[in-house]
């Protein structure tokens, strides 16, 4: 260890990896929940989950974490992803795939803009 910067580097690199241990509300974290019941998995929830995690890792995002839940009850819309903002808002994205997942991370989590076209309200 030759400098404080080097230590700082390790700390930053590790920050998003241990983030999952900081419980949701506590640190102002955004919780991203992927519906992973049989219906969700059959519709392709797993690639959505992995894509989101990869994107979070790649962009070194420290204020959001991905978790899963069971059946949300709207099987025809699966894969469903719900985003619980630190401010208590909830956004529901439907019929997700890996590419859409990456956009949600980039636009919603990073830039703070809800991707309206994927939300449940946009479904006619």
């Amino acid at each position: 260890m030759k400098s404080l910067a080097e230590l700082e580097q390790i700390r930053n690199r590790m920050a998003n990896k241990i983030n999952v241990r900081n419980e949701a509300g506590e640190e102002g974290n955004t919780r991203i929940v992927v519906g992973m019941a049989t219906c969700g998995i059959a519709a392709g929830a797993r690639p959505v989950l992995t894509a989101m995690m990869e994107e979070i890792e790649k962009r070194n995002i420290t204020n959001a974490y991905v978790t899963q839940t069971g059946c949300v009850g709207m099987c025809k819309y699966e894969p469903i992803v719900e985003v619980y903002g630190a401010d208590g808002t909830k956004t529901t994205y439907i019929k997700m795939d890996a590419a859409k997942a990456v956009r949600v991370i980039n636009e919603h989590i990073v830039n703070g803009n809800v991707v309206a076209e994927f939300t449940i309200g946009s479904d006619k």
Binding site: M1, K2, S3, L4, L7, I10, R11, R13, M14, A15, N16, K17, I18, V20, R21, E23, A24, R31, M36, A37, L49, T50, M53, E54, I56, E57, Y65, V66, T67, Q68, T69, G70
Partner: protein
């Protein structure tokens, strides 16, 4: 480490390891692999969570679900239900963390944790102690970096002085003063050392820090070395702590690899390295001069003070010696400032204290509370009270050097000075809770047996005196004592206190003196009435059968291991007291509560 969506923290402390956490980890890894989840879910072996009574303990993040008393057979269910499908296995969740509507509440809202404040234990049960990067992620080595690049050695000492931190090993001497004395002592070569020879029966907080957060010790010792002008460190640790030794060795290796030990740390002129010295298990080696004699490679015996270690310590060089828990507070003080630390606690005892709570209590385990917390809060609010609805009788603190806190003093705020004032001491922090079934004479005898075994033999008052004390106690518990014996016992206690060579002998009579002070009536009951009020001392107990209640079922006679009970079916049975060995089997066998002491 890859990014994982969930972390499963399994306690790898000694407590949970002995209740089978290794098997849990193996089963988890196998089961995750089977479901192809091994890259999504990370298993982390941590240090002690503190709730040892509920081990093996497992916490799942991000939900923060707390599974207790998990068995390897439960693992496939947890993996399938929770990790794959996202449904918490309520059956295995620690009941206290379930809300009324079956939701799961945060651990910090549970009684056991809610009233605690974890400074020394901040990383225990949070990080993987075998991964230096996790320690760094939780601000590890930040304090060392700050000290080396921004502070002068004297500024570090001033900060510690200002914090009001006192030694957590027992006597409670000001840590900052100790650092100052070592820094001021003349000499080119100086050492820092750590006392990790935790020998009090029932105390295990130092072990938990070493097992759960070894880097915090390394970092603090490096800071201390910088402050006092040392370049080498020694940790004297008992060989009976294999997990702690292993983790500390791994941590030292990693710190060297990352250049946090060695030459020119953080690119400064400061160089520091450290090594372990294993103790062979002699209690006296927890005494500072004996400890240093042992590090030097000699037989562990105390030597006179002064000179104090700060002046002439290891190999006659100035040496700073602190306890593990004391060091565990250092980085928190540097990072958060002395002004933060000295707002916690009481006027003369700052910060928190870790207690290893054991004995007759529901939540056996490790508890860290601000100084000034009352014993009642520790026993009832955090400890969950006494099992089986029994009455609290006393708590013993300070191990073989300490004394009892009786029930009427249960609201005493715990700090160094209050405990000394009521005839006990903080000691290293073992806290043994006793209920109405505990005989106080027997407790004193237990601790005296320990000190008689552990006396090093160098001085007569301790070697011979403690033996005589034990003989008198034996006489009393066998029902052969007299009132004069109690006076003699007391007189001898004071004589040993005044004349013994080191701390071991000087404090050895404390368990007797404090039980005499608060429970003299029990001693008198033993010698005058020849009765043991708690029914513990076998020689003074006799079992009898109440002929009114006895139905003559013969169950007691069939269970008696020595054939001391006889009688006819459907008629009251009798116990032959000459044959009876007072094992109590008949009492627990009787369905009609006809047998009593």
């Amino acid at each position: 480490m890859e990014l994982a969506r969930a972390h499963v923290l399994v306690c790898g402390g000694t407590g949970c390891t002995s209740s089978g956490s290794e098997k849990i980890i193996n089963a988890l890894e196998a089961s995750l692999k089977e479901k192809n989840l091994e890259n999504e879910i990370k298993v982390v072996r941590t240090g002690c969570f503190g709730l040892c009574a509920l081990g093996p303990i497992m916490i799942v993040y991000p939900e923060g679900v707390f599974y207790s008393m998990v068995t390897p057979e439960d693992i496939p269910e947890i993996v399938e239900e929770h990790f794959l499908k996202g449904r918490v296995v309520k059956r295995l969740v620690y009941k206290e963390t379930l809300t009324e509507d079956e939701g799961v509440k945060s651990l910090n809202e549970v009684d056991f944790y809610k009233n605690q404040m974890r400074i020394a234990l901040r990383n225990c049960g949070v990080i993987n102690p075998e991964d230096i990067e996790e320690y760094i992620a939780y601000d590890g080595y930040k304090a060392l970096g700050k000290v080396l690049t921004e502070m002068k050695p004297q500024e570090v000492i001033d900060e510690i002085k200002k914090s009001g931190l006192r030694g957590r090993g027992g006597a409670g001497f000001s840590t900052g003063m100790k650092w100052q004395f070592t820094a001021d002592a003349p000499g080119e070569q100086k050492f820092v050392a750590c006392n990790a020879d935790e020998g009090d029966p029932g105390a295990f907080m130092d072990r938990s820090v070493l097992e759960g957060d070894p880097h915090s010790l390394i970092e603090a010792m490096a800071i201390a070395a910088y402050a006092v002008g040392a370049d080498r460190g020694f940790v004297y640790i008992r060989a009976e702590y294999p997990i702690a030794v292993k983790r500390l060795n791994i941590a030292i290796e990693q710190a060297r690899e990352y250049g946090l030990l060695g030459k020119n740390i953080f690119g400064t002129d400061f160089s520091f390295d450290m090594e372990l010295r294993l103790g062979a298990g002699a209690f006296v080696c927890g005494e500072e001069t004996a400890l240093m004699t042992s590090i030097e490679g000699h037989r562990g015996e105390p030597r006179p003070r002064p000179p104090f270690p700060a002046v002439k310590g290891l190999w006659q060089k100035p040496t700073l010696l602190n306890n593990v828990e004391t060091y565990a507070n250092i980085t928190a003080i540097i990072n958060n400032g002395a002004d933060w630390f000295n707002t916690i606690g009481t006027e003369k005892s700052k910060g928190t204290k870790v207690f290893a709570v054991g004995g007759k209590i529901n939540n056996t385990g490790l508890v860290e509370v601000p100084m000034g917390t009352t014993l009642r809060e520790v026993v009832y609010d955090i400890g969950g009270g006494i099992p089986n609805g029994k009455q609290f009788k006393a708590a013993q603190t300070g191990g073989p050097s300490g004394g009892c806190i009786p029930a009427h003093l249960i609201d005493t705020p715990i700090d160094y000075d209050n405990l000394t004032a009521i005839g006990s001491m903080m000691g290293s922090g073992g806290l043994i809770v006793m209920d109405e079934d505990t005989c106080m004479v027997d407790i004193a005898k237990f601790f005296l047996e320990f000190t008689v075994d552990e006396s090093c033999g160098k001085c007569t008052p301790c070697r011979v005196g403690t033996k005589r004390l034990l003989e008198i106690l034996n006489k009393i518990t066998e029902g052969k004592g007299t009132l004069e014996d109690i006076d003699k016992l007391e007189e001898l206690c004071y004589a040993i206190k005044d004349s013994a060579f080191c701390g071991l002998g000087q404090t050895a009579p404390n368990p007797i003196l404090s039980t005499l002070k608060y429970f003299r009536d029990e001693y008198i009951a033993h010698v005058v009435d020849k009765k043991c009020p708690a029914g513990v001392c076998k020689a003074l107990v006799s079992y009898k059968i109440d002929p009114e209640k006895c139905k003559g079922c013969s169950l007691c006679a069939r269970n008696c291991p020595v054939g001391a009970i006889s009688g006819k079916i459907k008629e009251p049975y009798v116990i032959d007291t000459d044959k009876c060995i007072k094992c109590g089997v008949c009492e627990s066998a009787c369905k009609f509560k006809a047998i009593s002491k």
